[in-house]
Every structure is written in structure tokens, then in C-alpha cells.
Subunit: 338 residues, 2 copies
Amino acid sequence: MYATVLYGAGDVRFEDVPDPIIQQPTDAIIRVTAACVCGSDLWPWRGIQDYGQPMPMGHEYCGVVEEVGSAVTSIRPGQFVIGSFFASDNTCPHCRSGYQSSCQNREFVGGAQAPLLRVPMADGTLVATPETPGADLIPSLLAVSDVMGTGWFAADAAQVRPGVTAVVVGDGAVGLLAVLSARLMGAERIIAMSRHPARQAIARQFGATDIVDARGEEGVAIIRDMTKGIGADSVLECVGTQQSMDQAIKAVRPGGYTSFVGVPHGVQLRGEELFFAHAHLHGGPAPVRRYLPDLIGKVWDKAINPGLVFDLDLPLSQVADAYRAMDERRAIKAILRP
Amino acid sequence: MYATVLYGAGDVRFEDVPDPIIQQPTDAIIRVTAACVCGSDLWPWRGIQDYGQPMPMGHEYCGVVEEVGSAVTSIRPGQFVIGSFFASDNTCPHCRSGYQSSCQNREFVGGAQAPLLRVPMADGTLVATPETPGADLIPSLLAVSDVMGTGWFAADAAQVRPGVTAVVVGDGAVGLLAVLSARLMGAERIIAMSRHPARQAIARQFGATDIVDARGEEGVAIIRDMTKGIGADSVLECVGTQQSMDQAIKAVRPGGYTSFVGVPHGVQLRGEELFFAHAHLHGGPAPVRRYLPDLIGKVWDKAINPGLVFDLDLPLSQVADAYRAMDERRAIKAILRP
């Protein structure tokens, strides 16, 4: 098959590779209906993160089960399924407490920007839709595989509750879906920090009540002002840089909740600042598997339309264009069709 | 009056200073029945923390109200009262959300190692006991002013609930009272990390079920072992050093709760480690005022005996000995009687 492989900074190739095969009796092979490029794919693409040998890319996927290993019991060929970027057994103590992305047996799912994908621990990882979805639902179901689940975790970890004031730092796909999640969880006021008009428009569509186009200290000062000097109840950090983390911690009220869901790159938190900020802090790789049944249900019922974040739709063979468009922020998120 | 003033590293003096007077109509002057030396007093005493000019020392106190300002309404002369190290108005948004130690008008209470003490915002800060307590209750009531409230916050912020496994890092007075608090909140297993036999004994008396006398990576490995590789549900960090924070974050299970209640000194948290630890993190200066009514009640009913942490009882004039004994870890905590 032809699939996506990263060779070095800026060098992503669509090339002939062997088809994946069942390696463990708990594996499944799925025929990918749609995949996409993640903000976190851009870190190695930019050469900021090491990855060793040529790396098969892609960890967001939905598609039809082609084949299952002999030990798979709940997933069957022909089902339309969605999984998370971390395969999980869904039975270990961490999974049972809802942290499947820290599963004791987790495996990162790589190589989803391809026509066929091997998914380990299929029973624990994949969730099937009620029926084969229509084409209109594909983008939103794909979004649930990572960015929607991650935005949801951002809101959940920041304890968004009815009536709160929430701030979302970051206007990538995850930030925008964090806005949507905060609205669904009942936030009264949702302040989206964005300097990009097209993204501001989607943020508003997803439920942002206010837009702040300043960053850093200036952005924090505006949030303080808007909250009468108190700070926000919930701050959802959806970037992963030092600046965005500092901003998130300084914008929250004492006793408030800051979540962080973008892999931090070179971020250092000063203990004393965190201490006197009096914030609650929680983050990590989103336990998307925990949310999959609920979020698939919401998409299925057309209660949410997270697929709106895909503003570039390309055949998989043009994957290199997708990376460039996202890197240059010409696209929020690219959907790829094998 | 003769009171305690720090002049420089290791140079704490008991010397003649002016009596405090009512400065604001919301002030009270209290005659201190007992004060004590805090672990955090040792930072400036060791020269690790700057303090500028000669500094009146002490921020833990209980005593009898001598005089109140004209605007004080709920506190009356003659009452026996306990306050926290941060004076708070108890009416601002931060106070109302239970974070009085981040009160918008907070003032640090200094100079409690003295016969007389000025307490700002007396109505918001002080809580009176039902009657004048007997001498037997004084140590425990004094403990409530800081270390018991701080240990309680450590357990509260680490979400100690019935049935959990809690780890307490640090065997100072706060750590020991964090053990007591974890027991009161229903922890099934309480692992105290201590290498000091006398402190281990008190930890056991307060409810520790296990003692681990290793630190750092070795200590973490033992905790992982004791929890079948899962990690603890709650970890209470009661020291404030890099080593203790690292230990606390590595000992908690994904989705578990780490609290930190000792002022961090030079502590840096690596964003990526925190991310993959999947921990909840919450800490800061304990909002002791929030807990005062409840904890005073528990002491009054003799349900708890936090005063047990005072293993050195000195007249105030020997305050310099108290600092030395605590610095050399010959004493857990010194009570001072003016």
C-alpha cells in the first residue's frame, strides 16, 4: 500500500510500504475511511522532536474492520470503528479508573495516514458505531478519535461546570473543540484566545462568548479585567508551549482549574509560582477511550459537529500538502481520504 | 515587650520592641498564650530566603483578645481566639470560594513569637473557642493555627477519600498531621515516608499503616511495589524541595492526586513529565481559615490531638534554642510560652 512516512524535518513522503498484518491475536486491521494530520505531528515534522528511523505517521483514524486476530471477541469484520491514538486493554487498573491513555499495556498507534492500519488490543481500543455512517458523519467521527476527545478532556480536567467562566488558550483544532466541550458542559462565559479571524469565527460558532486576541502578560491582564480581577474558574491550555502554560496558570483564579492537553515542549513550571497561583492543575494525553462511547453518540445524534474543524479535505496522496498547510496555519486541520 | 526578631542567618534575638497597637479599626491585639516555630521560619533563619530588614518572627498563635479596633464586630476582648498566618477579610470572592490564604486583601501575620500580636481584619481572621480552654488543649489549638490546617489541606487537596492509599512525603509537623488528616478522611492505607524513628512512632500513632524509610527513586520504587505497580491514589507532599516534589509526582497513579503544601524553594517541574504522569496537582498556602471552625471543634471534642507534634516546650525567652533544635532536627516542633 501507499502510506505516509516521515524521513526528516519537512520531509514527509507518500510511499509504498508493506501492508500491515495481524501480529498478535488481539490485533485488528482496519481499512481507513479517513485519517488526518495532528498538531502533534508537526513537532517531528519541524524537526523539534526526535523520532529515530523513518516513522509511519498518523494516529487519528476511523474505518471498517477488515480482519481480526483470533483472540478478538467484541470487534467484528465489517464494523465501522473509531479508536484512540493510544491502544489500551481497557481492563487494567489505569483503564478502569478512566485513564486508558496511561494503560499499563498501552501502545501508540502509528501509521494511520494510510489505507490500512493495524490496531493493537482491538477489543479494548476500538468502539463501533451503531451502523455504517453516512458520508456526512465521517469528519465528525474522525474528530472524535483525537481532537474532540482531547478538547473534551481539556474541559473535563478543568472542571467546567454550569455557570463557570472558562478561558481556552489556543485556537488549533483542539482549542476550538475545547470551546465546544466547555459549552456542552454548561460554561456561562467562554473566552477564546485567538488572533486568527477564521478561527475566531469557528470558536464563536462552537459557543465562545468572547474573543481575546492578545497573548502573554497582555492577554492575562485582559482576562483579569474581564473577570473583575478574580481570574477564570477554568482555563483550558491547548497548545503546550511555555508561553501558553504561563498564560493559563496566571489567568486562573485561586482554587480554579487549569488543564493542559497539548504535549509540553520544553515547558518548565516554577514551583513557587504554581504554589501561590493556588490553581488545580491536571493534564496529560487525553483518555479519549473513556469518552468515545459518549462522543460517538453525540455525533451520531447530530448533537455536535466537531468535523467543522476540518477546513482542508485532501486525498491521502497529497498528505505532504496537508502538513505544509497546517504548519503555515493556512489550514486548521486536514482530513485525508485514502 | 520582649519579642523575637531575626537579624540574619542563625541570628534570631529576643529583644525589647514597642508593643503593637491598633493601626486600623479592623485590627485586634491579642495576648499570645502560645506561639511556635514553623518549618518555614527556618528558611530565612538559614539564610536561604531574603527578608530585608530585621524581621519580627512567628505566624502561628492563639491567645486572648486584649483590644479591638472600632470596626470589629464579631470578636470581643476576653475571647480566646485562633487565627491563620494570612489575615483575610473572609468576604472577598477568593475567601468565599474557600481560598482565604489568597484573599484579595490578605496580609501576612508576622511577629507572633511575642507576648502581644496585632492581627489585621480580626473579624475575618480570628475564630473564637466556645470558652477559655484548659491548659491541656493549648498545644492542639495552637497546632490548628497552621500545621494542622496545612496537613488537613494536604489531605483535602490530594482528595483523600475512604478506601484510598495515601502517601505522605515529609515527616515534619505538617507531614505528621497530614497523616492524621488522611486517617480522619478515611484513607485505608497511609504510607509515611520517614527515616526518623521518633517521627515514625508519631506517624504510626496518627494512623500511618506503613513506613518507608527510603527517598528519591528508591522510595518511589518501593511505593510502586507496595501498590502493585499502580501508584498511590493520593500523595501529600509536605516538604517543598525538588526531591520531595519529584518523589510525590512519580509516586502517584495516573489520575491520582498530588498535593503540595510546603513553600517550594527552587523547585522546577518539567511539563512533559507532569503531562505523562497524568497526575492532578494542587497546592499552595493552606487556606487554614476555611478549616478553623471544624478543626477547633475536633480539638475541643478531643477527637484529635495534633498538639502531639510539640516535643519541645520552652519559655519564649529561649526562642533561639527552639530554632536551633528544629534546624538540627532534634525537635519536631517547639511550642513557646510568653
